[in-house]
Symmetry: C4
Subunit: 241 residues, 4 copies
């Protein structure tokens, strides 16, 4: 990944379109990346559908999720951007965040079965998959969205120091990674693992999930392997789909 | 949305293509919008497949679902247009109606499980999802279609004053909204929620549906948020798919 | 439909591409139409994948499924063409036949649950859906294919005088209709009904299937309504997909 | 298939793109073909996503999976290429190998239900579908990948002398055939049969699988029939999709 913010922003625009194309993001959801030169800032699109994002739509926020450049005053920001800012505060190891309504993940947020790694690409799920239940933070009657810094902090706290993915009840998930390609990789394979776990449940248990040791080894391998799908998806996204 | 009927008709043509593209409408189904200047009239395509509809195919009907312009005499009208006219009569708050054979909704019309909101975008399902059983209106032996004003009135009565969606047994659903983008949004997320509820049933266990209070809050939020997917879908539809 | 065989052959080529595009036909399967001027002959493609069929690939066979034009000598014919010839012999009401490995229909050929109409477009399933078990005709050890006139006759006999669809165990189905658009319509909605019945089984029974009277009325209505999807699909197929 | 290695390499590049297009391969997986002139060598792409492979990316390895041409020194090779080399050593009848994360096959690698042939095109599954459990070879804690010649040998041994497919727990499968079109055919229909078996399990009840005799006869028929889908897929892949 480029160390230069301008070039990184071009990659971030592609990441939005990649995840929309792969069916992880629909008209909602967002992707961000931490500024490699200033860890107290991150880049994210203004509030539009991910599939439409180009580099020109991306702006820089501080970790309180406020704009830092006066030229961005008055631009419409994602209402749930606190997901990103608060996770960057809590997790210095995280350099990219994806929030999505990943379609096969949502059912796992409202049922008791745990989302667990069964496909080796999804070993990162073995680092834990906490569930954020907004009713436990602020009670009944919300629209389930992370609309305040305080809710963002609660979410980041539930994510904890190790997990790569946090489920959000009735809403979707947030996925983090040390790099943009890896966060995109993890968001994609969280959805794939959910589909395969759903199929395995249909076939009938018990399911031979990966062990903790396998998950850790696989996660390490996939940190290196994230570059291959990224190269493919990037090329497809650049072709305009 | 435009207040000008001509411009609104262009949006209505797009709405048809959007819902066909998103897999909510197949070769059947129809979308209508109330005339913003004359609430006793509505616009709807002549009887062709939604994916083919252009502004030139759209005509204006009165609330008895009869043409009002002599130039439209003899045009083939949707046989089930009474769904639209009778709902507009019964529900002054409704300005757009979608009738579809939404593929994952149909199975919920022939089983006992209730379609209920689990995804926050589908909070509107918490306003109630009545089921129209045509056998209760006119007995056995129909083709399940709403072919008369009287059946349209029965459907509108079952929809009631609050619901956004009514299921039609063995047939599909009708979805209403205060605006065209919102009715399209609701038709889309009714299908998505049905898919996710089907997956949640497969996973098993009690499903943590949205509460009534969450549904109401989310519905309010989504009335405002409908503009974002509409902007995306509209752009895609204008590209010719 | 044209009464002229040349024009009808152009429609038959489109029917092949339509059903491939809609996912009913994969690289195998075939579609035929009876010659409107000579009921003892039918048109069908030479042995190639349906998605590739153009009018130039189509030839005319007699009801023993042999070529009638010397220019067709030596062309590779579908090995299972006897499905078509023998059904045309047995069912004078049938003017078009589709044989496919319709993907969601195959599972219903190897399980005990009956494929039954739940979607009003698929009312024709209420005319009966017999199952052809090749082991009952010629015992164990076949490749499940209809490779002889005798097997074709057995299949046509099992289809009986009324049914629109016959399931073929571990293989797919054969669908018949009074016209090419109607046979294509029925092949498509057999697949759709199978998907929706699968979903209804997942949701959990009992399933409120259409009654016999509803099926008959709906089938009549859909004989007339087949023209609408045909017009749409034809346009899409002519665009080259 | 061409006997000339240069022409065969062009077909191998197409095979990669075909299986990516059909959803059998994602950004990972690989396809190889044995050199028709030198059975101690095989051709396979350098380490890139299958969808991107062109003839220029393909190189020749010996059966120890090492490059043989000095111009290939330093090129990045698939880390799991030992799957291919060791199977070619153990199975002289095999001339092509596909390794994939076939999405509906993976769930059958972590559950107890056996993948068995129910669709006649998939009769080759009746030759046996062994499961490779890497924990039995080298214990817990791997990333599930075949990263050494020794693991490749274990996999080839488990595959045995007859099977066309071996499942790899939490990972995918490896599929072999006497020719490239046949191996591609089998990889495709392994996925299709898995989808249909999943649906049959959902429908419920005893599944009427193919008998051993039917499987053998069908496999023979499909060895001859593999040419038809290959011709179609090849044409589609050449069109740049």
């Amino acid at each position: 990944m480029p160390e230069n913010l301008t070039d990184l922003i071009a990659e971030l625009a592609l990441a939005n379109r990649i995840l929309a194309h792969e069916g992880v993001l629909d008209a909602f959801g967002h992707v961000s990346v931490r500024d490699p030169r200033n860890p107290h800032r991150y880049a994210i699109s203004r509030s539009i559908a991910p599939e439409s994002v180009t580099a020109a739509d991306i702006l820089v926020l501080d970790l309180d999720s406020q704009t830092v450049d006066p030229k961005d005053d008055g631009k419409l920001l994602y209402r749930e951007r606190f997901i990103h800012g608060e996770i960057y505060k809590a997790r210095p190891d995280v350099n990219a965040v994806v929030h999505s309504h990943s379609p096969t993940v949502v059912p796992f947020t409202v049922t008791r079965a745990k989302l667990r790694p069964l496909l080796h690409n999804a070993g990162f799920l073995g680092l834990g998959v906490p569930l954020f239940e907004i009713r436990k933070s602020v009670g009944d009657g919300t629209d389930l969205m992370i609309l305040t810094p305080s809710l963002g902090k609660d979410l980041a706290k539930q994510l904890g120091p190790d997990a790569a993915v946090i489920l959000m009840r009735g809403h979707g998930d947030s996925v983090v990674g040390p790099s943009l390609p890896n966060a995109v990789f993890r968001a994609y394979y969280t959805e794939i693992n959910a589909r395969q776990q759903l199929a395995a449940i249909t076939i009938g248990g018990p399911i031979n999930f990966m062990t903790r040791a396998e998950a850790v080894t696989s996660n390490d391998a996939m940190l290196r392997a994230s570059a291959r799908p990224w190269a493919l998806w990037r090329k497809t996204a650049l072709k305009g789909r």
